[in-house]
Amino acid sequence: MRVLIVEDDREVARNIAKMLRECGHVADTAHDGEDGLELARDGAFDVLIVDRMMPRRDGLSMIAALREDGDKTPVLILSALGEVDDRVEGLKAGGDDYLVKPYAPSELIARVDALARRRNPEAVKTRLEVGDLEMDLLARTVRRGGEVLLLQPREFRLLEFLMRNAGQVVTRTMLLEKVWDYHFDPQTNVIDVHISRLRAKIDKPFATAMLHTVRGAGYRLQP
């Protein structure tokens, strides 16, 4: 996967690039909005990571310019501005996800992975399959090894998100944002408890576990 990092803080850009390379991705960097826009227009990138406040051209205007060209490359916006209004503004400008600084590196990697997957849209799919786990989005049913699993509506949405991002790490914050639509940070381990409930339904009765905990990062659904 090719990722372009547009970030005016060179050290931050270098660190992100290093992390991505360690995960087996190709990473390029640009240090202002103009260079970023030029590179993004030339190269075929799978994901763009764009800082919001940059010299010469700010991140939002760079994204807007790309979208005007019809470029649909997924964009993750990085910003120190974290209020709901800032987030809405970022997504309106054409961003696909929004991460507030400071963030945990694992959070960034997980979100980039999730964005790259979105590039090959599965939204039109009515069935999701991960290993022997199947989800019918129309009938709202879940089976594992042919056996029907009874899930609560929220558990269904949680599993759907995990299945769409199968094989990738998803963080607790991502789950809270995408499944519950909350952008705050509960002090207790609410997400862990929901995951363990889900696990009891999709893993416990079966020989192999699919829903793994990734320490210090989040969870991964993998056959």
Binding site: G82, A104, W180, Y182, Q187, V190
Partner: protein, 476 residues
């Protein structure tokens, strides 16, 4: 040089003020309008009095014509002589067809050409009544008529008194207008001087603040007039700014304070990794702990930042009408498994149709924080109840009741302060910002946050805690 010369020509400061210019303008307009009105009255008066004179002259000529028609030149002459001797208000001159004077009280026709009707306006000299030398020029008007037999008769009338009266009136009008203008300018200067003195005081305060004396305030007169109101608003604005600056400073201090400890701990841990790098398992464990430390740091950082922003009132945007029942059901759904996991009984009791004006995210966060607290402090076997209702006064109230140890009365105010965690809870996770965040969210919504005793003590547990958020009643 040219600048000095230029400024020498400028008006004194109080004459350059808006108040002065406005007064000047209104005085000018007043003077102009009074002048116009008086000028109209003047024109009407002059017209009327001259018409009256002309009518009298025409009437007198008709008398003479009548006598001339009946008794010829002799009868007309007799009449004119009689009238001249009688000392009436008319001037007469009677001429034969060869334009020789026959009779009358003036010697010759006025040397002014007459118009088509024979009317003339002229100035004649009349000897002073006391017989002194020289005469005074007096205004008069008259009419010359040629009679049927070729005789000419002239009848005139002295209008000097009327003319003089009229011109006196005109002078008075002009004088009054000029006086109104002058008084306007003087009162404008006086008013603007007073006005600019008070504005100067406010400006001086603003300049002092710019120069760094932040505690300066604009003087108040407490008269309730608009300048006093300006001072009041100005001061209120400054108080708010000072308050915000104070809060930002406190926020900065507490961020520094709260991050220093975990950062030091993290540094120690990382140094430890360097030292005991031999055992890969111990190293991995230490690194995992370091990552957990960093996560905790990030969490604290976010919490402190959003608290600071809330308290600074950054998020006071337009609230929307929220389905409170749905919102509480969602949060309950998020927390119910946690409670069950901890061996707590959980219930959500909120009737359908509850609503309020607010920010969904913030209110969900407040309720989540209160629930966090309840879950954290309620021992196994206890219960947590989330309740929503409309009070009798129509206020939306959200409350969380637990059967934990509660908070002693004397500590209730203190737990709302930042970072305060009661001694007993030091060992539990969290950064002690939860309730201060709830408090800040309540403030943004104009809501009341109240802490009460829970259901009471049973078997060594309790007495419990009831935390309630009461939102102001919405309209409609």
């Amino acid at each position: 040089m040219s600048e000095t010369a230029g400024s020498a020509w400028r008006l004194p400061p109080f004459l350059r003020t808006t108040a002065f210019r406005l007064t000047l303008l209104s005085a000018g307009l007043f003077a102009l309008s009074s002048f116009v009105i008086l000028a109209l009255v003047y024109a009407a008066t002059v017209g009327a009095s001259m018409n009256r004179a002309d009518a009298a002259i025409t009437g007198e000529i008709a008398q003479i014509e009548a006598r001339y028609a009946a008794g010829g030149a002799q009868a007309a002459n007799r009449y004119i002589v009689q009238r001249s001797v009688g000392g009436g208000e008319f001037l007469y001159l009677f001429q034969d067809p060869e334009r020789r004077r026959i009779s009358g009280n003036i010697s010759a026709l006025p040397a002014v050409p007459a118009d088509a009707q024979g009317r003339v306006r002229f100035v004649y000299e009349r000897a002073p009544a006391d017989g002194a030398q020289g005469g005074e020029g007096r205004n008069a008007r008259g009419q010359i008529v040629v009679l049927a037999g070729g005789h000419r008769v002239f009848v005139g009338m002295d209008v000097e008194d009327e003319t003089r009266f009229i011109s006196n009136t005109l002078n008075a009008v002009l004088l009054a207008s000029a006086l109104a203008l002058g008084l306007g300018i003087i009162s404008g200067a006086v008013v603007s001087r007073r006005f600019s003195k008070r504005l100067d005081a406010i400006n001086a305060a603003a300049r002092a603040i710019r120069a760094g004396r932040l505690e300066t305030r604009a003087p108040r007169t407490h008269t309730g007039d608009e300048l006093d109101e300006l001072s009041e608003n100005f001061n209120a604005m400054l108080d708010r700014v000072e308050h915000l600056m104070q809060r930002m400073r406190t926020a900065g201090d507490s961020i520094a304070h709260d991050l220093r400890l975990p950062l030091t701990r993290l540094r120690g841990r990382l140094e430890g990794v360097l030292v005991e790098a031999e055992d890969p398992e111990a190293r991995e464990a230490a690194l995992q702990r370091a990552i957990a430390d960093v996560d905790e740091l990030l969490r604290t950082f976010h919490a402190v930042l959003s608290l600071a922003r809330l308290q600074a009132g950054e998020r006071r945007r337009a609230f929307e009408r929220l389905d409170l029942t749905g919102l509480l059901a969602d949060v309950a759904e998020l927390y119910e498994p946690v409670c069950e996991d901890q061996g707590l009984e959980f219930a959500c009791d909120c009737p359908a149709g509850l609503w309020l004006m607010g920010d969904r995210e913030l209110i969900a966060q407040a309720v989540a924080n209160i629930l966090d607290n309840a879950v954290k402090y309620t021992p196994e076997g206890g219960a947590v109840v989330l309740r929503g209702r409309f009070t009798g006064a129509g206020e939306a109230e959200v409350s969380v009741t637990d059967t934990g140890p509660g908070i002693p009365m004397e500590h209730r105010a203190r737990v709302l302060e930042r970072f305060v965690r009661l001694e007993k809870s030091r060992s539990l996770p969290g950064v002690g910002l939860g309730l201060s965040l709830v408090q800040a969210i309540a403030e943004v919504h104009g809501a009341r946050l109240t802490l009460d005793e829970g259901p009471g003590a049973v078997d060594g547990h309790g007495p419990g805690l009831r935390i309630a958020l009461t939102f102001p009643a919405g309209e409609g």
